[in-house]
């Protein structure tokens, strides 16, 4: 019990990173982490010591995220996450532009693709682990991952967007 709680605490920073990337909004992300911790603590006895706690927590967070998306189907506020990224001292403007575009492009992906992409690319989960976390077949993990990457590539290579970013070209 004690060990489980200790382990849970060490996972908080990673849960916050994942939630931030998933929602694109710091306060929404921490709400999600908080809900996830409450639920995890209330079910801590159900977690089997020796198994991967992070995967277990990601599953809880996924379920909460899905129900949040259902309740609250409004689009995320794009303006809210332009301030999320603070440029590093060694970056240059090209990198800053690329990262800020990636940040908004990520939020334009459908949530299903975003989840898979983040679990694989940031969290380093294997396809099999992602399939288990999300409760979907391995083939679906791959197709969502492929489509997500393709979509981002399209957006970042400056293809016209449907959003208000369209400029008239002289």
């Amino acid at each position: 019990m004690t060990e489980s709680a200790d382990l849970l605490v060490t996972q908080i920073p990673r849960l916050r990173r994942y939630a931030r990337a998933l929602t694109g909004d710091a306060s929404r992300a921490d709400d999600l982490v908080q809900d996830c911790l409450v639920r995890a603590l209330s079910r801590l006895k159900l977690w089997k010591p020796g198994t991967d706690m992070r995967a277990w927590l990601f599953t809880i967070m996924h379920n909460l995220f899905v129900s949040e998306c259902r309740q609250n189907s409004k689009q995320p506020d794009i303006a809210a996450f332009t301030t999320c990224y603070v440029p590093g001292p060694y970056d240059n403007a090209d990198t800053d532009v690329r990262l800020s575009e990636l940040q908004s492009g990520l939020q334009q992906l459908v949530p299903e693709q975003r989840e898979v992409l983040l679990l694989v690319s940031i969290e380093g989960l294997s396809y099999r682990e992602v399939a288990a976390v999300l409760g979907i077949p391995g083939g679906t993990v791959m197709s969502r991952l492929h489509r997500g990457r393709q979509e981002l590539r399209k957006q970042l290579s400056g293809k016209p967007r449907t959003a208000s970013g369209l400029r008239s070209v002289k």
Partner: protein, 262 residues
């Protein structure tokens, strides 16, 4: 090599990037990439994407965990043995503050310094742009016709020689400028306009920064695009709503002019 080499498809490239392949298949792909530059480029882009995602979101790992997320506060009382978890939370806090070594400290300091640049340079520049570039009556305090007066006034108030750069080569003409209060300092704002009546502003002020190299940075603030750089003791920010490519071209001209002291 007891099996025939299978053809390489897009799924293999993803699996290669994600470390999903066994050693022999990985070697197949590496051989394939050498002779297929398009596939190699695709792999490079996927890898870049992963790196960029880390650059965007890894800083969250270094943020202190908000008190509201400490288990004792999120309902641990419902669970027996909460005090040990609370201790663990406190311990985790100590680890966060002290245990992650110089790497974390450096990135924290960099983040703090960047935050100062954002607060002292980028945000006031963007806000001043929004306020004055939209003004139809008094966008500037001193008109471009009195450029010499503007230059000597700003130079005197800011204790350094300062003059509006000529942005004619990128199609922008000086309208004029003004002195502005900024956080703890004064700032100069120069406003320019092109033939399509698009306005940009250049904001200049003293700024304390260890990072004195003139690398361009980009940030959006107040809905305005801002390219900024620091050169010696001065910080410069170019604000506008033009496309980023046009803005950075202008920023380069402005940077060179300021660097030459023109």
């Amino acid at each position: 090599m007891n099996k025939d080499t299978q053809p390489v498809n897009d799924a293999d490239l993803h699996a290669y990037v994600d470390g999903e392949l066994d050693k022999s298949r990985r070697l197949d792909i590496e051989a394939y990439l050498v002779s297929h530059p398009e596939a190699a480029e695709q792999v490079r882009q996927y890898q870049q994407l992963s790196q960029d995602l880390h650059r965007l979101f890894d800083p969250v790992l270094n943020e202190p965990v908000p008190a509201t997320l400490v288990p004792a506060r999120v309902g641990l009382r419902k669970v027996s043995g909460w005090s040990s978890a609370a201790r663990a939370a406190a311990l985790a806090g100590i680890v966060l503050v002290s245990g992650l070594g110089g790497w974390l400290l450096n990135s924290r300091m960099a983040a703090t310094e960047n935050a100062a640049v954002l607060v002292n340079l980028v945000q006031p520049a963007a806000f001043a742009h929004v306020v004055y570039s939209t003004d139809d009556y008094y966008p500037v305090e001193i008109q471009a016709e009195q450029q010499d007066v503007l230059a000597s006034w700003l130079s005197e108030r800011m204790h350094t020689s300062i003059q509006a750069p000529d942005l004619g080569e990128v199609g922008f003409v000086l309208i004029g400028g003004r002195l502005l209060p900024s956080t703890n300092r004064m700032a100069a704002q120069f406003m320019y306009q092109n033939a399509d009546a698009e306005r940009i502003t250049l904001y200049v002020r003293r700024i304390a920064s260890k990072n004195r190299q003139a690398a361009f940075h980009y940030q959006e603030a107040q809905g305005v695009k801002v390219f900024y750089w620091i050169d010696g003791p001065m910080g410069y920010a170019l604000s506008g709503s033009l496309g980023k490519k046009r803005l950075i071209a202008i920023a380069k001209v402005a940077h060179d002019a300021f660097a030459k002291g023109v």
